[in-house]
């Protein structure tokens, strides 16, 4: 067994192999630095360029999908609460998760100005639905009675259905 040493597992290695030298040269470093700079410049250009119509539509549809996910998940949690299948701390955490998803979606939508009228119309159709979903999620999370929870559930299901329609219509 030519490669085996007498060293037992876990014991210290002998010294580094004779003649081993790190060979990173200035030339190589310069190439790497230029490559990193070019990548960074490309990244900067791509993130700072104003969105065109198709970029905005893609973002809006992603926001709609996130809002739909949050509303649908909120409705599922509310259902489970009404059936007594989840404990309070879980429901709180799950509503928090869904609300965080929605808040992120709303921020993305309001953070980008629409590039044209068609994009503005898409935003105007979507934003009220997102806001309604935020309100309904908050109502469900705070509900202290079954009646209030049922009411919030109804709104969440309705908003989720309308968001699904909006996504389908703009796909």
């Amino acid at each position: 067994m030519p490669h085996c040493t007498e060293r037992a597992a876990g014991e210290d290695w002998p010294a580094w192999p004779a003649g081993y030298q790190p060979t990173v040269t200035l030339h190589r470093l310069a190439i790497v630095a230029v490559a990193v700079l070019l990548l960074w410049a490309g990244f900067a250009v791509s993130v700072t360029a104003p969105p065109d119509r198709s970029d905005y539509r893609r973002t809006a549809l992603q926001v709609a999908a996130s809002a739909h996910d949050a509303a649908g998940t909120g409705a599922l949690i509310a259902h489970q609460q009404l059936d007594g299948d989840v404990f309070g701390t879980f429901a709180d955490a799950a509503y928090d998760d869904a609300t965080r998803t929605l808040s992120g979606a709303a921020t993305r939508l309001t953070g980008e100005p629409p590039p044209d009228d068609a994009s503005a119309a898409l935003r105007d159709g979507l934003l009220p639905l997102v806001q309604e979903a935020v309100r309904a999620l908050g109502d469900a999370a705070r509900a202290t009675s079954r009646t209030a929870l049922r009411a919030a559930l109804g709104v969440l299901e309705d908003v989720a259905a309308r968001l699904a329609d909006l996504i389908e219509a703009n796909r």
Binding site: H68, T73, T89
Partner: protein
């Protein structure tokens, strides 16, 4: 009888220990968005990890030395440094993701934000790794992770549409509303979640820690070929329950609370409690494995004394790397990056560095100088080369797919 019990325990811990935050996130996300059309990818990943874990286990049991130790000796410091850099980067990121997963599981039972749990989890993790015995750790968390079986029971209680599921599994491809780019992005993430590099380093170093010899080769193989596929079944249960609950509603999964919901819907509070306990055990167990793997790889590369069986004073540098890895994992999370998002990035980077991990293992497993007649035969090499080719394709495709699909968003 004692040996039989030891083998059975090994299998059970291998099953429970297979699932980690990457498997939980990737399988639940894939199930919600694509149904079970990625089931074949999961099967491929499990076969791949079985193939290479068997090689690692064989190398460790026959030579009495872990794979990384031999990689440096066999391939030299330079090649091994590439291997070390890639796998360490991904393993420490994975450690951060696992700690975040523990925090999220605790948040589900306490309502206290996971960020407040992260430093506590990091500290407890360090104490446990410092004080507890290797076998105890492996058995406790591996066995507790078995409660994820609740997702298999939940699947049957959910009254799934078997015809639809069969349709999804037998005709792989993107459903309405998704495209091939996102389908393949998810496929790469799923494959990487099954073949995470730390698993082979931990498996081979663990074999040395437990002082396995060539006589334990059968035990090692049974653990791999029975335990890992059954662990893969738990991962599949996460995918298929998510596909049953969320896919028909067209709802994506992006939080741990959502992953637990199928268990609650099917089995009520008891099912939910079991699911959360399973998440906790799976992520904490994986946090221990990734923490130890980080320290194993560094210590074995530099030839330092290493191992849980040595007193910390005798392996000070090993334990220092362990502490630093935990600290880095905690600090990454304290940037407030979402642990689920961190897991997704980790899976992509993991896919990129997979060849750096698996090529050296294949080389070492072929070296008769170490393994004698136990070196790879034709079949093991054919399977190894096939999976290496798949691993290379996944590695090359990972970053372009990440950019083109905007991290799978489409």
């Amino acid at each position: 009888m004692k040996r039989f019990l030891a083998v059975a325990l090994g299998i059970l811990t291998a099953i429970g220990g297979f699932v980690d935050i990457g498997d939980i996130v990737a399988n639940a996300e894939a199930g919600a968005r694509f149904g079970i059309s990625h089931a074949w990818i999961l099967l491929l990943g499990v076969l791949g990890i079985c193939s290479y874990a068997e090689m690692s286990g064989r190398v460790a049991t026959v030579s009495g030395r872990p794979v990384f130790d031999l990689v440096r000796e066999r391939l030299g410091p330079r090649v091994a440094l590439g291997n070390l850099a890639g796998s360490l980067f991904v393993t420490v990121l994975t450690l951060g993701a696992e700690i975040g997963g523990v925090g999220l599981a605790l948040q589900l039972v306490t309502s206290v934000d996971y960020l407040l749990w992260v430093p506590v989890v990091g500290f407890v993790l360090w104490v446990v790794l410092w004080r507890a015995k290797f076998n105890t750790l492996e058995n406790v968390f591996g066995l507790t992770g078995l409660v994820l079986i609740v997702f298999i029971i939940a699947f049957f209680r959910l009254d799934p549409n078997y015809g639809e599921l069969w349709h999804q599994a037998s005709r792989p491809g993107p459903p309405h509303g998704e495209d091939w780019g996102t389908y393949w992005f998810m496929a790469v993430a799923l494959f990487a979640s099954a073949m995470t590099p730390y698993e082979v380093f931990f498996f081979s170093s663990g074999a040395v820690e437990e002082r396995w010899t060539a006589k334990d080769l059968l035990t090692s193989r049974i653990n791999v070929f029975v335990g890992f596929p059954l662990g893969g079944l738990l991962a599949f249960a996460l995918m298929v329950t998510s596909a049953t609950v969320f896919h028909p509603r067209d709802v994506s999964v992006d939080s741990l609370s959502q992953v637990a919901m199928p268990a609650a819907i099917a089995l009520g509070k008891l099912g939910l409690a079991a699911a959360i306990l399973g998440f906790f055990a799976a992520t904490f167990g994986a946090a221990m494995e990734t923490g130890l793997s980080s320290a194993y790889t560094v210590a074995q590369y530099f030839g330092w004394a290493w191992g849980k069986l040595r007193r910390p004073r005798e392996a000070a540098r090993f334990h220092t790397v362990l502490i630093v890895s935990i600290l880095v994992g905690v600090l990454v999370l304290m940037t407030t990056i979402d642990p689920i998002q961190l897991t997704e990035y980790t899976l992509v980077f993991s896919a990129v560095v997979l060849p750096l991990t698996y090529l050296p293992i294949l080389v070492v497993a072929n070296d008769r100088g170490y393994l004698g007649e136990r070196a790879n035969g034709r079949f093991a090499n054919a399977v190894g080369v096939l999976f290496l080719a798949i691993v290379v394709v996944a590695a090359v495709a990972a970053i372009p797919l990440m950019i083109v699909t905007r991290m799978g968003a489409g």
